[in-house]
């Protein structure tokens, strides 16, 4: 009977169906192999600095969020340009998906950055700019605007009169230059305020202390000091405290290292211009990954700055910005 053989065939096919389906449904989860994934390298100015560690925390959070591998490195000193150059070359040789660089020098590192970009690795500059057109994006504060804000706070604290000293890191520091320019521009609106001098002490706290003492000891003691970075602020604060001049000599600082915050609470530092290094770190990794993924990224991302004093530093919002949340 032909019909029977046909139905037998059909029955066999029906029985084979689940087997085939089972074969189809066994799918293999495809995930990028962590071993073959190249890292996003974050090279900072000073790998031991508090600021940079907060940047690192933000970068790590972003790396975790976006599933990237992050390598954090940098010279031990902000002025070690050659050391940073060496690190750039080293990581370029190792291979990386993207480079996040806080350049130690605006001009000198431009060529290195160009070189990295030519090798197909996108570069994101953080905190400080670098003189290269090939940088995918810059992420950091507007230093000129920060300078103006700090100067405005000083104007408020000093009653818009007096002689002031600027304590900066080095004449060539681009960030410091811009901050200084912002300060000068802001103060130019107040004829009774003048910048007496600009002193340079690198990132050396004790040298900054020395410079402060010199400035305060001489004749014609300035009414206030503008410390353009954390080292300068701490150096100056220690010296003012030691000389018992707190309150008398107004100290307006930049950045928010833990020690600065202590001085701020103690009232030695009257106000400080804070930024959010965690956000900078987070956004830098996010942007670097986008650039590595050939996505369009913003050429310039400006992060928030605020001026706080001992009164406002424990306001809930400021707490969140000032103190990294660690368990």
């Amino acid at each position: 009977m032909k019909l029977k053989s046909a139905s037998r065939c059909a029955a066999a096919a029906v029985l084979a169906l689940p087997l085939l389906l089972a074969a189809c449904s066994r799918q293999v989860e495809i995930r990028p192999d962590a071993e073959t994934q190249k890292p996003v390298v974050l090279l900072v100015k000073d790998k031991n600095g508090d600021y940079w560690n907060t940047v690192k925390m933000g970068a790590e959070a972003a790396a975790k969020d976006f599933g990237a591998k992050l390598t954090f490195d940098g010279p031990g000193d902000e002025s070690d340009v050659a050391g940073q150059q060496a690190l750039i070359r080293q990581y370029l040789a190792y291979g990386m998906d993207a480079l996040i660089l806080a350049p130690d020098d605006y001009a000198v590192l431009a060529e290195d950055v160009d070189n990295v970009v030519r090798k197909g690795v996108p570069v994101v500059a953080v905190e400080s700019e670098v003189a290269s057109e090939r940088v995918s994006s810059f992420i950091g504060i507007d230093n000129y605007e920060a300078g103006r804000k700090a100067a405005a706070k000083l104007k408020e604290l000093s009653g818009a009169k007096g002689r002031f000293v600027i304590l900066s890191s080095a004449p060539g520091s681009r960030n410091a230059q811009q901050r200084e320019k912002g300060i000068v521009d802001e103060l130019s609106g107040s004829p009774r305020m003048q910048v007496a001098d600009t002193l340079y002490c690198g990132s050396d706290v004790s040298l900054c202390g020395v410079r402060t003492r010199e400035a305060l000891s001489g004749g014609g003691r300035p009414d206030g000091i503008l410390a353009l970075n954390a080292a300068a602020a701490v150096g100056a604060a220690r010296e003012i405290e030691r000389m018992g001049l707190y309150g008398t000599v107004k100290l307006v600082a930049f950045e928010n290292s833990p020690e600065e915050l202590e001085w701020l609470q103690e009232g030695v530092i009257q106000a400080t211009l804070i930024q959010n290094p965690f956000t900078i770190g987070y956004l830098s990794v996010k942007t670097a990954l986008e650039a590595a993924g050939r996505q369009k990224v913003e050429k310039r991302i400006v992060t928030e700055t605020r001026v706080i004093d001992s009164e406002s530093m424990f306001w809930s919002d400021n707490q969140k910005m000032l103190f990294p949340f660690v368990q």
Binding site: A13, C24, P258, Y282, M321, Q327
Partner: protein
């Protein structure tokens, strides 16, 4: 045109119809089943996700409640120690608290302040900072405002002591202290860090990306979040407003752009809520997997069914097509076809019937051919018998002899009869004539024969009532009568008698020719009509001819019937249908 017709034919074919309808039905059913399954699976997956999230969050809530209870108990112990001691700023209390302080790693501060914010005793044993704004801090205010009530603060940075700035949750309570009969108001503070809360909360696994966070139900402040810093930095956002509306339960949230399942549980006593977040796209993964699987299933079933239907429909329609082809051949005239019967199904039976039918047609065709041939032959014979040259010759001889002997009357009778005989014989070429004419014809014949045989026999003709007008095939009686004379009367010694009768019997017309001649045996009589060869003297050829002619014209129910007995005579009956005055155009 042929192409169009061909296509038209194809689209109307059974095979096409079966294939299309089977496929359509199967696809419909499979689609429906797939949809139902998909719907059911995904809903179950979602429900399961919701339920499991709720269970997990419930568990976390229980753990957190346990932790808070243990902290409350701990706070109670500290409070008891403080109350026991009369001298609050003394070393003994400090020592005691210090012991307790180091038993736990989640403690940051234990401190006792008076109402003005003056430190009475405190741990860790480091100097206090200035500018702490202690009395304006929320934990202090709530302790003063709600004395004897343990309150939990939102996370804040503890700025009281030199050293690190730490994020803590403050437990504070306004208490009344009795020392030396005086009662003073004081605030007891215990700060805890997030170690335990983090341990409890980060162990939660809600899928791959899911997490849980804690909010304060009064203001919606985030107490703890696994990505607290991202929240604080404003990079991450949680839709706390929505979560605040729920005490417990689950809902879908799309405020961050992705669909997330939010599960909420309230922690009793502290006024915290645990919010579990899991990502729908992970549940969606299951959904996609199921979807993908069903698509595969659909594709496979489709292919399978298509194959089966094509096979089945071909199986059904092919024999029909073969049958059709064979029929076409038959149509073109090829009757020598035998369809091979492969199966015993409907088509097989149809084929067999077809074969039988074709066979029958073939038989009938052969039969018709044979009949036509014999008809033509007998017609020719009729034509011949119309002329009867031999009879004419004999008759004329007799006439000459009679004329020689001067029997003029007989000559006249004979010539007249001959003339009538031939007139009716020809009868304008008609084959069917009235019975009266037939009888007249045979009468004339008998008259002539009687004279020729010198009155050796007598004859009589009788027609039943109404029979004369009936129609009959012409010249059926003459061969019979001729036979009766030549083979019956002539050999007989007796005087012969021939009686011819016409009657209606059993609805038929019966012509009977009876003689009293020598007769024949019954066997011979029976053989006379059936035997085609005709033996010896050719007796019976004329009879058979008449018999055949009648049967060919009117059918098997008619013809001759012979009864005979030796020495007694023979009766030949001619059976004809009753045909009334009807013009037949048959040639």
């Amino acid at each position: 045109m042929i192409g169009i017709r061909f296509r038209h034919y194809r689209f109307k074919s059974i095979q096409f119809l079966i294939a299309v309808s089977f496929t359509a039905i199967t696809v419909g059913v499979v689609f429906f089943v797939s949809y139902v399954l998909y719907d059911k699976f995904t809903r179950t997956a979602e429900n399961n996700a919701v339920r499991s999230n709720e269970q997990i969050i419930y568990q976390v809530t229980k753990n957190l409640e346990y932790y808070i209870r243990s902290m409350t108990i701990f706070f109670g112990e500290v409070e008891a120690s403080v109350r026991e001691d009369g001298d609050f700023a003394g070393d003994r209390l400090h020592e005691q608290l210090n012991t307790i302080f180091h038993t736990r790693e989640d403690l940051v501060t234990i401190a006792l302040f008076d109402q003005s914010g003056q430190k009475l005793t405190a741990l860790p044993s480091v100097p206090m900072r200035s500018n702490t704004h202690l009395t304006t801090q929320s934990w202090f205010r709530s302790a003063v405002e709600n004395p004897n009530h343990l309150s939990f603060s939102v996370p804040h940075v503890q700025n009281l002591f030199k050293g690190q700035y730490k994020w803590v949750v403050s437990m504070s309570k306004g208490i009344k202290l009795k020392s030396g009969g005086r009662t003073r108001d004081a605030v007891l503070l215990v700060d805890v860090n997030f170690k335990m809360i983090d341990d409890l909360t980060s162990s939660v696994k809600l899928g791959q990306k899911g997490y849980a966070y804690i909010i304060d139900e009064s203001a919606g402040n985030i107490i703890y979040h696994p990505q607290q810093q991202l929240i604080y930095a404003g990079i991450k956002y949680e839709n706390v407003e929505q979560a605040l509306k729920y005490t417990y339960g689950s809902y879908l949230d799309e405020s961050t752009g992705v669909q997330r399942l939010i599960t909420i549980q309230t922690v009793s006593n502290v006024g915290w809520k645990i919010v579990g977040v899991s990502y729908m796209d992970e549940i969606g993964t299951t959904k996609r997997e199921i979807g993908g699987f069903l698509v595969w299933l659909l594709a496979f079933v489709l292919l399978f069914v298509l194959g089966i239907t094509l096979f089945m429909s071909a199986k059904i329609s092919q024999p029909i097509k073969r049958l059709e082809k064979s029929m076409q051949l038959v149509e073109r005239g090829n009757l020598h076809i035998e369809i091979p019967i492969r199966r015993d199904d409907e088509v097989g039976r149809l084929s067999r019937r077809f074969n039988l039918m074709v066979g029958r047609i073939r038989e009938l065709m052969d039969q018709i051919i044979a009949q036509q041939e014999s008809k033509r032959k007998s017609e020719l014979e009729v034509l011949q018998s119309q002329i009867h040259p031999h009879f004419l010759y004999n008759t004329l001889n007799s006439v000459v002899r009679l004329a020689g002997t001067g029997k003029n009357d007989e000559v006249i009778t004979m010539i007249t009869s001959l003339s009538k005989f031939f007139r009716i014989s020809l009868s304008k070429g008609k084959t069917v004539i009235p019975l009266a004419d037939e009888l007249e014809h045979i009468r004339n014949y008998l008259i002539i024969q009687k004279i020729r045989y010198k009155n050796k026999f007598e004859f009589e003709l009788a027609a039943g009532e109404g029979t004369e007008s009936l129609q009959t095939l012409k010249l059926v009686l003459q061969p019979i009568v001729e036979n009766a004379i030549y083979h019956g009367i002539e050999p007989s010694v007796d005087e012969g008698r021939i009686a011819i009768r016409a009657d209606v019997v059993q609805g038929k017309l019966r012509l009977q020719v009876a003689d009293n001649g020598v007769g024949m045996s019954a066997e011979k009589a029976a053989k006379l009509l059936s035997d085609g060869t005709g033996e010896g003297d050719g007796t019976g050829i004329g009879l058979r001819n008449v018999h055949e002619r009648i049967r060919l014209t009117y059918g098997d129910g008619y013809g001759l019937q012979i009864e005979s007995e030796r020495e007694e005579g023979t009766i030949v009956s001619v059976w004809l249908p009753i045909l009334k005055e009807e013009r037949s155009d048959e040639a």
